[in-house]
């Protein structure tokens, strides 16, 4: 039975370990937290994050009208400020550096890169314009730099939108589509997204349908979110068809219900208020949130490639209590005329270069993919990449503890190896990483500029170009201006120029010159004008 005593009690000299954590969401920070708890000051952690900004889905997934859920970043800040922790933002592991590069430099690498991919339904018409996945839609309104170009219809046909799915994400999306835009704008929701939703509402968006294929007893939403549909705004009327609710209460579901405190409380919300509201649906001037159960999308109807409606089949529940599935019936389908369909049926792992995947999951044992071997540090996983894309922020706690404990145990039991040389020269060669200090300055600026606009914060979606943030792979920062590397360059860090037609001469300060008309010379130092008939003006 391996001893779990920390190595420093068994060996003569203490040995410092250096671990790399890839990903700065809850998985990355909780894993770091528990690693430090185990290791004390014999451990250093370097965290790498692809985006300039940290915190993953806490920043981009939590609904903007749920700011208190994001308080966890205070905890993460404590970890980030520990002297043996370093944050490197704007560094894409898998691209530069490679995963193998990291494993050669660190005693262990923990992948906490989550799951940002979409899951498809596989129905006809799904590719129509106006059908989007919640993973992209949520990141769009939350100011994620990769999703600001999401193409969406300018008006919503049929004055209706349909959200497919009944988890909390589906309820978030639906709620945000009907809340008054002035409420939304006061949050840190991207203003361009607020304006889009406002114009949808102005041009007639009145009803948002939330559609799930099983009954309410099986639905994944929780009561806090369900209750919020009732309280989010005076301008919103949440409804459910009482007959449909009754359909959900088959024998097996009643049995499931009797065993679930949570679902019993859901009945109250659905029956007492939402079902009662159903009668008002025809006469109200409020925007309507209608929850459907036992409906499954059969086909997206489109015209000229754009969504015009969706056909929903009637389902029935089949199977043993706790394992019921939705099965199709012969009953008439429901056709809803709509111009926006948001698919909220889960996330999926996004592969990156070097990530070991089997049937789209990373194979592991207690978070360990591979222990350390010749010249390569061990490989570990934590968070959604490890468990699959399910669960809330807090779900990462037990998970991170498992990976941290396993990792630490493995490090103690490696056969004695000489300590690796420090990865410090590697990190100092990284291309302008964003430090945690840089992030704090950016955060302060987001709050400051947001407050000026009447918002909780205005997120930087491209880059704050003050030497703090820019998208290093495709863009650059030139004295306060962001430029596209393919077309332009920055001369001497100050002058932006078209790199196709101009050059940058650094012999005498930084001078931009037009090819063909000027030369850049060592003698005389700097640029000179080419005389007609002469090949060059340099001596």
């Amino acid at each position: 039975m391996p001893s779990l005593k920390p190595a420093r009690l068994l060996t003569r000299s203490a040995r410092d370990y250096h671990v790399a954590v890839v990903g700065s969401g809850p998985a990355g920070f909780y894993t770091s937290k528990y690693l430090f708890k185990k290791a004390g000051d014999t451990l250093k952690i370097d965290m790498f994050e692809r985006l300039p900004t940290p915190f993953g889905l806490v920043r981009f997934g939590v609904a903007p009208d749920h700011p208190e859920v994001k308080n966890v970043i205070n905890d993460f800040g404590v970890i980030a400020r520990m002297p043996s922790f370093r944050y490197f933002g704007n560094i894409e592991v898998g691209s530069q550096p490679s995963l193998e590069d990291l494993r050669k430099l660190y005693d262990a690498v923990v992948l906490c890169t989550g799951a940002s991919g979409e899951r498809l339904l596989g129905i006809a018409g799904e590719e129509s314009f106006g059908v989007v996945g919640a993973p992209a839609f949520v990141k769009w309104y939350n100011g994620h730099p990769d999703y600001q170009d999401l193409k969406l219809p300018s008006t919503v046909h049929g004055e209706s939108a349909v959200v497919l799915g009944q988890g909390n994400v589906a309820l978030d999306v639906a709620r945000l589509l009907v809340r008054p835009p002035r409420d939304l704008d006061a949050t840190d929701m991207e203003r361009a997204a607020v304006n889009t939703i406002a114009s949808w509402q102005k041009s007639g968006l009145r009803t948002v349908h939330i559609v799930g294929r099983r009954g309410f007893v099986q639905a994944a939403f929780t009561n806090a979110e369900l209750r919020e549909l009732l309280t989010c705004s005076d301008e919103v009327l949440p409804v459910v068809d009482p007959e449909e609710l009754a359909l959900c209460r088959n024998e097996a579901s009643e049995e499931e219900l009797s065993k679930s405190r949570m679902k019993k409380r859901s009945v109250d919300i659905l029956d007492k208020t939402m079902a009662a509201n159903f009668a008002e649906m025809g006469s109200t001037s409020k925007r309507i949130l209608r929850v459907h159960f036992l409906r499954s999308p059969q086909e997206v109807l489109s015209e000229d490639g754009g969504v015009r409606g969706i056909r929903l089949g009637r389902m029935k529940l089949q199977g043993e209590p706790g394992r019921q599935v939705a099965a199709p019936t012969e009953e008439a389908a429901l056709e809803i005329s709509c111009g926006l369909v948001v698919r909220s049926v889960g996330f999926d792992i996004t592969p990156f270069n070097g990530l070991p995947l089997k049937s789209n999951r990373v194979p592991h044992t207690q978070g360990c993919v591979e222990t350390s071997s010749d010249g390569l540090g061990g490989l570990y996983v934590s968070g959604w990449l490890k468990r699959g894309p399910q669960g809330i922020i807090a779900s990462n706690i037990g998970d991170a503890q498992e990976t941290a404990a396993r990792l630490w145990n493995d490090l103690q039991h490696q056969s004695a190896k000489p300590p690796r040389s420090s990865p410090d020269s590697f990190v100092s060669s990284l291309p302008r990483p964003v430090s945690f200090e840089d992030w704090k300055k950016l955060e302060a600026e987001e709050h400051r500029s947001g407050h000026e606009m009447g918002k909780a914060a205005a997120k930087f979606t491209r880059g704050c170009c003050e030497g703090v943030i820019f998208k290093a792979q495709t863009e650059g920062c030139c004295q306060g201006r962001i430029y596209t590397r393919a077309a332009q360059s920055c001369c001497g860090g100050r002058s932006l120029y078209d790199s196709e037609t101009h050059g940058c001469c650094l012999e005498n300060g930084a001078q931009v010159y037009r090819y063909g008309s000027y030369n850049c010379c060592r003698r005389p130092k700097g640029i000179c004008r080419i005389r007609p008939g002469k090949a060059t003006c340099c001596s």
Binding site: E68, R265, Q366, I393, Q401, A405
Partner: protein
């Protein structure tokens, strides 16, 4: 002064023990369920019922039970003298009980 406050800011052996086991992911504003604890039956009764919002959060916690409460809402008073707090298994103490092969 809540149980979570003691865990975070308290001094002494009891507080440090609590700190080991009680997480707080939302800074104590009842937006998560990481400070979930079980109480003994009589303390649970003495405390009075949780409000609806707290119940909603308890539902999300690891294996909620009849005597579940959130540590951040658990206001300590002399009425609760002798209270026993049990940390739910699986959520916060996987750390020390992982069987390694």
């Amino acid at each position: 002064m809540s149980l979570k406050d003691i865990a975070e800011y308290g001094s002494g052996e009891g507080a440090s023990l609590l700190k080991e086991y009680i997480e707080c992911a939302c800074s104590g504003v009842m937006a998560c369920s990481t400070c979930h604890v079980y109480l003994d039956a009589s303390s649970f009764k003495a405390l009075g019922p949780a409000d609806e919002a707290e119940e909603d959060m308890i539902e999300l916690a690891f294996e909620p039970a009849e005597t579940s409460r959130l540590g951040c809402q658990l206001r300590l008073s002399s009425q609760l003298e002798g209270m026993t707090v049990t940390i739910p298994g699986g959520a916060n103490n996987m750390f020390d009980h992982i069987p390694f092969e």
